[in-house]
Subunit: 243 residues, 2 copies
DNA sequence: CGCGGGCTTGACTCACTTCAAGTTGTGTGG
DNA sequence: CCACACAACTTGAAGTGAGTCAAGCCCGCG
C-alpha cells in the first residue's frame, strides 16, 4: 500500500499499523482532476478535507473590486482544507493548477481520529500549526520586504517543501505558475514579476529555463534574506501514546 | 468558577462537566504580566500554550535588515501559541502590549485532551482553523488592497473579535497600539498611518478620541470593502461525541 | 492560419516612503 | 514642583519602488 499521506506523516513520527490502517481508510476514495477544474468555490459548503496526491492546487481570494490573491499553493502530499474545517464553508476558491488527483475524506473522519487514534489528531494539529507559520512568514514578507526578497523567499520555500516529498532529489524544480499567478501570490503585477525574475537571472541567483528553476547558491541566498526552513524539525515529544 | 477559556469555547458548543473540569485544570496557573514584558523571544523553546486573560499581546517577526512586522494581535480570551505548537520553538516574539495576565499550560495537556476529551481537541483544531482564515484574509489585504481599505478591515475585524468576549456591548473600543504598531501590522509607515486615520475621520468613517475608536456606519463600510465576520458561525456538527 | 494567452520592453504615473522640523504629552529624578 | 529627556504624533516637501498603459512578439491550439 502506497499512501502519500502516510509518507507525509512518517516524516514526523513512524506510524503504528492501526494508525496506517486508519489513514488508508481515509484515503480510499480518489478523484482525478483536470487543470483549471475547481474543487471548491467561495461560499460552498466544505464538509471534506483532501489529500493532494498529484498535481498542484491553488487557493484564491478576491477583493470587492475584482483583484485576485493567491492565499495558498498546495503541492503533492499536502493536506487541503484545514483552513475551512472550523467554519465548514469555503471563503477561498480551490482550483487545480495542473492535472492531478485528490483523495477526499469527510471532516467526520477527523473527529473519529481524535477519538480512536489521538496521536493522528496531534499530527493534524501540528500540520495546521506549520500552515500558520508559513502564513505568518508571508505576512512578514508582504509587510516589510521588497519584491526581490519576496521572490527569493518564495523560491527557497518551494524548494524546502518539494524536498519533503522528493527526498530533496534535485535542486531544480518545475514551477507550473504564470507570472500573473506569482504576482497574485507575492503581491506584485505580472509585469513586475517578469522584471524581477529577469534581474535574478542576471544577478546569477537562479537559472530559469522553460519554467524550470535552479537556485544557484542556496545557502548564501538564504542567509541574505534570513530564510529558515520551517518544515524541518517538527517536535513530536508531547504527543499522546500511539493507539 | 469563572474561566475565560470556558466562555470562549462555549461560544462554539456548551461543554460537559468533564470538559469544563479539564479546562479549569489547564487554567489553574496564572501569571501577571507588565506592559512590554516578553512572554517568548525568537528562538526560545515553546513548550507551553497560554490563555490570555487580560490585556493585549502582540506577536512580532523581524527581517534581516531590522524591520519589524506584527504577525498577530491577541485579545483577552484568545489562545496563544497554536502557531508554535508544531515546532516547539518560537519563530516570533510574544510581548505584552498592555499590563495583563496569562494562564500557561503545557502542550502535553493538549495531548491528554485528544486522549480524554476528544471533543476539546476538535475545538482547538477549529480555533487553529479560524486563525488561518484570519491570516489568509490579511494576506489578501496586504497583497491587493490599499492603505485605507486595510485600515478599515483591521478596525472592523477588531470589533468583531472584541464583540465575542464583550457580547458586543459597545460600538466604541480602545486601541492600545501606537501608529507605528499599526504600521507594523498593516505594512505601512507610522507617518502614513497617521495620515490615513486623519482621512478616515475627515470622511466620517470613524470617530477617534484619545485612542478610542467609534465606527460610524459599520454595515455600509463593511459592504464597501467586502468585509465578512469570520468569527461568527463555527460549524461543530462534525465533532465527536462529548466525553 | 488566425486568435488568444502569456511574456517582454519602455515610458509615464502614483501611492506610499523618507526625511526633516516642530508640537505635545508624560514619566522621572533632582 | 520644575526641568529635562524621550516617545508619540503632525505636517509638509521631496523621492522611489512598483503600478499602469501601450505596443510588439512568440507560441500553442482550434
Amino acid at each position: 500500500m502506497d499512501s502519500c499521506l502516510v509518507n507525509r506523516l512518517e516524516n514526523f513520527v513512524s506510524l503504528t499499523t492501526a494508525e496506517k490502517e486508519f489513514v488508508a481508510y481515509m484515503e480510499k476514495d480518489e478523484r482525478r482532476m483536470r487543470r483549471r477544474e475547481s474543487l471548491l468555490d467561495i461560499g460552498d459548503d466544505a464538509d471534506h478535507l483532501y489529500v493532494l496526491k498529484f498535481g498542484w492546487l491553488v487557493a484564491r481570494s478576491e477583493t470587492v473590486d475584482g483583484r485576485s490573491a493567491v492565499t495558498r499553493i498546495y503541492i503533492p502530499g499536502e493536506v487541503v482544507g484545514l483552513a475551512e474545517i472550523g467554519k465548514g464553508k469555503a471563503l477561498h476558491s480551490l482550483t487545480m493548477q495542473t492535472d492531478g488527483c485528490v483523495c477526499p475524506f469527510p471532516r467526520r473522519a477527523v473527529a473519529e481520529m481524535f477519538d480512536k487514534v489521538p496521536r493522528l489528531g496531534a499530527l493534524i494539529l501540528s500540520i495546521s500549526s506549520l500552515d500558520q507559520l508559513e502564513l505568518r512568514r508571508r505576512i512578514k514578507e508582504l509587510t516589510r520586504m521588497d519584491a526581490e526578497s519576496k521572490m527569493a523567499s518564495f523560491l527557497l520555500t518551494m524548494q524546502d517543501r518539494l524536498a519533503i516529498a522528493d527526498a530533496g532529489r534535485n535542486r531544480r524544480f518545475h514551477l507550473p505558475l504564470t507570472n500573473r499567478d506569482l504576482g497574485d501570490y507575492l503581491g506584485l503585477t505580472d509585469i513586475y514579476v517578469g522584471k524581477v525574475l529577469k534581474r535574478l537571472v542576471a544577478l546569477k541567483r537562479i537559472d530559469l529555463v522553460d519554467r524550470h528553476v535552479t537556485i544557484r547558491d542556496r545557502s548564501a541566498w538564504a542567509k541574505d534574506i534570513g530564510h529558515e526552513n520551517i518544515y524541518a524539525g517538527v517536535d513530536t515529544s508531547w504527543y499522546p501514546d500511539p493507539a
